[in-house]
Amino acid sequence: MAEALALPSNPETEPFWQACREGRFLVRRCDSCGQAHWYPRTLCPFCFSDRTVWQDGSGRGTIYSFSIMRRVPEPYAIAYVTLDEGPSMMTTIVDCDFDTIRIGMPVTVAFKTLDDGRALPVFRPA
């Protein structure tokens, strides 16, 4: 997986990462058009309304696509997971035999703590 990376501060999405540290998975939804989007942002990427809000996500979804990265010291399974709330997000699939991963497989969120203290939402088979 990726090396540590120095990121500039981002007040727009800090509540998301704070919630992750508390074990909660947030999704951003627009009150104007009613749609959830990914990655979270203040202005809705569909209708451009600023009436977007955080909501507790179900943490459930299904695998849209995936690939096992083989040519690295520690192979890993990158994926796009389609959340029950609608949007698809990039993530990794953990806690399973990579050869059992399939498109359409139901998955549920878990949190992996990185060296910089970030709690990263990852997914494992439901």
């Binding site: 997986m1 990726a2 990376l5 120095a6 990121l7 500039p8 981002n10 727009e12 999405t13 990462w17 749609q35 959830a36 989007h37 990914w38 990655y39 942002r41 809705c44 990427p45 569909f46 849209y64 696509s65 995936f66 690939s67 096992i68 990265m69 083989r70 040519r71 690295v72 890993y76 990158i78 994926a79 796009y80 389609t82 959340l83 609608g86 949007p87 698809s88 997000m89 990039m90 993530t91 990794t92 498109i103 990185l114 970030r118 990263l120 990852v122």
Partner: protein, 390 residues
Amino acid sequence: MSIRNQAYIAGAYEHPTRKATGISLAQLHAEVAKGALEDAGLAKDDVDGYFCAGDAPGLGPLNMADYMGLKLRHVDSTDTGGSSYLIHVAHAAQAIAAGKCNVALITLAGRPRSEGMATGTAPRVWNAAAPDVPFEYFYGPTVVNMYAMCAMRHMHEFGTTAEQLAWIKVAASQHAQWNDHAMLREVVTVEDVVNSPLIADPLHRLDCCVISDGGGALIVVRPEIARSLQRPKVRLRGAGEAPKHQMGGKIDLTYSGARWSGPAAFAEAGVTPADIKYASIYDSFTIPVLMQLEDLGFCEKGRGGAFVADGNLISGVGRLPFNTDGGGLCNNHPANRGGMTKVIEAVRQLRGEAHPRVQVRNCDLALAQGTGGSLGTRHGSATLILERES
């Protein structure tokens, strides 16, 4: 206003190096510029427009303009990754039609091989302030696994097979055997491709392009200048450009931005895919070739696997000769950006200057297609339709 027939590609040059250990990056840019000017029969002082992208060292076009000693009245540093140079051709035509320049120089160069860059297998961040970075970087998105996820989904929805993808590499290798400068000149079989090691499922080593140093340049001029030169006349008949991204999470990995840039280019050109004699298709891996062919309308969506199989992309064998220089898969992928070499080989074909063993007969209409960035996240697509003026 249409740019149809408003500008001509008068010069094209591909640097012969594939490993530039003893050549600086700025020097590579200048050497390809010199090569393209000599090819056109023009001089440096004729250049009044300069186009480059993020591979040019410095702040946009400024530092290379300084290095080369260019006196300019028009610059454009649009960067959509490897598709930038096709967009530059279209933008140069726009600038020429608007009277903003007469002779546009476009350069590309890079040294990823000499610099030992982990091109495909390590995550790359263009700008840590990009809003998507915290939501992607830590998952390890590399070039290869992002394209691999497109292939995985395409296989799932349409039944595309690894063997069908392999035919794309086979066709490229059939062409590369005739190119003295190609990095990989050995002809490979479908079995060679599918038996090569998996890099990121379902892509094998031989589904991936080469990593090479080098570069290329183009000279785009107004029609009166093209007619005054001694080279065969290749004009821009139509162009389209379109970014594709994650669409707020409504992700669909089965198509590329060519779904939009292709029809725009065909509409401007007033031709259809059936009219195209030769196609340069961006080929960082096998899978983008298949997807772009579908998106450009050479076959139906989902039928790309059948279209590319059985040698259909091999010059002299199939319906649609592609990447007759060997493409990124076998010849050259300078700066990890494939668009420039796509245009150059299309120009060779239209001039009748491709290798005789791969030259398409009566090649009067060609397409060049570029994708830049990452097919699995955000990319820029650009399509050019080029015509030989008889």
